[in-house]
């Protein structure tokens, strides 16, 4: 009983960290809006109303990243149950849905020689799980179960929804700073613009700080988003291992993925973060710019004492 409890604690710690990261994102967004307001000479309430409207529009646009769009981008197809491998895949998904206490997700197959899998859908009800034919051919049932448990953990933890929203915040921050710099550029050329009220050195310092913030915020928010993405991968590994009570299944699958270099990626790079391992590249080191933690690290954690335990890390695992 000791091991599941350990995992249980790790899952809780991971969730706490996600809350901190999301709070940090919102804080950055708030600061960016305030800085934009200052530089454009807008009163704060008006700046926030503008940002709110922009956010709303952005969310509506990102609704296009729903399940049908992902299926189209990845060229996924429905499984053919007369093929034994694909029938067994559907069986394994049904079984794990019971373990996770989730409604049965729809199953899809992507024809690719690479070993990979992903989940999509912003709620468990509309969730789908997709596995490559390469995974079906090269993973045994235990390993497949580990991979599927990882994917169902993403569904259970609402990771797709979280990713959609945080990507939206990153996008809004990028757009906001872009807009401010354009306006200032043109405003500057046409003499003064909206902030010609003068002011002392305090005002100047504020403006310099605001400009610095607007330059750094898009980078920082992207780094924070990626840190969160990696954190959710560790979390999905740990809760997947808890779900199957068998960390070795997933560890062994990740090992096979590690040795199977990606050479047949399908779909678009925007869905890279969805996969169990990035289909385009394998992170060898823990980089600030990768969507997934390095596979070796994940395997090591799954096989370590108290399987799935993650290392103690700083909030943003910067190099």
């Amino acid at each position: 009983m000791a091991e599941p409890l350990l995992l249980d604690e790790q899952i809780r710690a991971n969730k706490r960290r996600t809350v901190v990261i999301v709070a940090l994102m919102l804080l950055i967004l708030g600061l960016v809006v305030a800085a934009a307001g200052l530089l454009l000479g807008l009163p704060l309430p008006i700046a926030f109303v503008f940002a709110g409207v922009a956010a709303l529009i952005y969310f509506l646009i990102s609704a296009g990243s729903g399940v049908p769009a992902v299926l189209r981008a990845t060229q996924a197809r429905e499984p053919n149950v007369s093929v034994r491998e694909e029938k067994l895949l559907v069986y394994r998904v049904e079984e794990l849905a019971i373990a996770a206490g989730l409604p049965k997700p729809r199953v899809y197959i992507q024809d690719s020689k690479d070993i990979n899998a992903f989940a999509a859908g912003r709620s468990p009800k509309e969730a789908i799980v997709c596995v490559t034919t390469g995974a079906l051919a090269q993973l045994n049932q235990e390993e497949l179960e580990g991979v599927l448990a990882h994917e169902l953990s993403h569904v259970k933890n609402y990771d797709v929804r979280l990713a959609t929203y945080t990507i939206a915040v990153v996008g809004i921050i990028a757009i906001l700073s872009e807009i401010v710099f354009r306006v200032m550029w043109y405003g500057g050329r046409h003499g003064g613009g909206g902030r010609g009220r003068g002011g002392g050195p305090a005002q100047l310092i504020m403006i310099v700080l605001a400009v610095a913030l607007l330059i750094l915020a898009p980078l920082i928010s992207r780094m924070v988003y990626l840190a969160m993405s990696r954190r959710r991968e560790y979390l999905a590994d740990a809760s997947g291992a808890y779900m199957t009570r068998n960390p070795e299944g997933l560890a062994s699958a990740l090992e096979k993925i590690l040795h199977d270099l990606p050479d047949d990626p399908k779909g678009s790079k925007t869905v890279a973060a969805l996969y169990i391992a990035n289909p385009w590249k394998r992170a060898l080191r823990d980089s600030v710019w990768s969507t997934h933690p390095p596979l070796e690290r994940r395997i090591q954690l799954l096989r370590g004492p108290g399987a799935g335990v993650e290392p103690r890390r700083r909030l943003i695992d910067a190099a």
């Binding site: 034994r84 029938k87 067994l88 069986y91 394994r92 049904e94 079984e95 794990l96 019971i98 373990a99 206490g101 009570r245």
Partner: protein, 186 residues
Amino acid sequence: MALLTWLIVGGVVALLLIFFVTYYNRFVRAANRIDNAWAQIDVQLKRRTDLIPNLVETVKGYAKHEREVLENVTKARTAVMGAKTPQEAMDADNMLTGALKTLFAVSENYPQLKANTNFLQLQDELTHTENKISFARQFFNDSVLAYNNAIQQFPGTLFAGLYGRKSRAMLTVPEAERAVPKVAFA
């Protein structure tokens, strides 16, 4: 002054009421989850017992001499169907799993049986229901754990006593199930 007293009294009463309702609902939710988890196990047990006669018939056609193995499977199936409590049903199901493992191990000796598509399909489906049962049992136990935590932790335990909520038992698995069955090959 009187107004302030009334406000305080009213606030305390409202707070107590919220506590009573919240805990009542929390216990009901947790208990329903357990019942639902059991219902899932029950459905799968039924499905499993439905598959057995078909399997026995198929195997009989190829392996007439394995009477004892087949009888054990049938006996375990009857035990599952006659179980009166969840734990009894689980014990009988464990017996059935053991008997089936022996049957599938023995079937390795009959190449024609192994090549039979009907047999293969039954084997896949029986494994499928067995996996579902064991995950459902795991979910059942997780649900019992959550329920027991809710009624044993403070201050939930105060309300649990009031509502007459008692700890529930988890479904236990005998150690033997985890071990690989020993089958002597002739």
